[in-house]
Subunit: 137 residues, 2 copies
């Protein structure tokens, strides 16, 4: 299990490796935290077309390479979905809007069986409140 690189994440998937995909994936890997399309856009110097970023995020999400984390202030946040980053809870600060990853020991598998005939594909657990930084004031 080597480390994540844009190429390793894309290989064996029948996906064209374009320059912008390498750049986008590189930025996603570098940022160790949840990001939105415009976060990426900014971190890349506002040079890449936003439509390209959106299209690639959708593709990466469909491939399971990234996952949706939360939707806040009308903005969708994602994170890398690799072996080293399994599903985990997130904390959203109601004051500063920052999103924190809440790592936890045991894998998140709350009630995978639901009554009736619900098939659970993803479990989302999030907390909202005030983060340590904002508590200080």
């Amino acid at each position: 299990m080597g480390k994540c690189t844009p190429e390793s994440l894309l290989e064996g998937r029948n996906i064209k490796i374009t320059r912008q995909r390498q750049i986008v994936l590189g930025a996603i890997i570098d940022t160790g935290k949840p990001f939105s399309a415009s976060d990426l856009h900014e971190s890349l110097g506002n040079e890449m077309d936003l439509a390209t970023i959106y299209r690639n995020l959708e593709m990466l999400c469909g491939e399971g390479i990234i996952r949706q984390v939360m939707n806040e202030k009308e903005r969708q946040y994602y994170e890398l979905a690799c072996i080293h980053n399994p599903e985990h809870p997130h904390f959203y600060c109601n004051i500063c809007g920052k999103i924190y990853c809440m790592k936890q020991d045991k894998p998140m598998r709350l009630k995978k069986r639901l009554p009736g005939d619900f098939t659970v594909e993803q479990t989302v657990l999030q907390y909202r409140g005030i983060c340590p930084d904002c508590s200080k004031e």
Copy 2:
């Protein structure tokens, strides 16, 4: 603890009781399930101004009379937040987009203490997958 009426929900709060607030709250109480601004708008025959609905939803949310449930397809969903409807998990169907309330026996109080200095004001637990109706196909 009487039943919910627009007036009982607003009383003692220094909020003007307007005709549209009564209508909006009435619709919210009648619909026993999560709703969006446009759901309300439609259910009221597209007659009330959407801006009014948005402003009232924001106010009701600030007052704790309703709570945000989830944000799906760029649309914010709310539900009534009264004694009879405590925080509970929701299920979002990836196919039909319907939102189900997952009632549960014990109150939802997962990990209210988090490491560091996080103050948790709300805990959100949601499942996404395929609902019973869509499983049948």
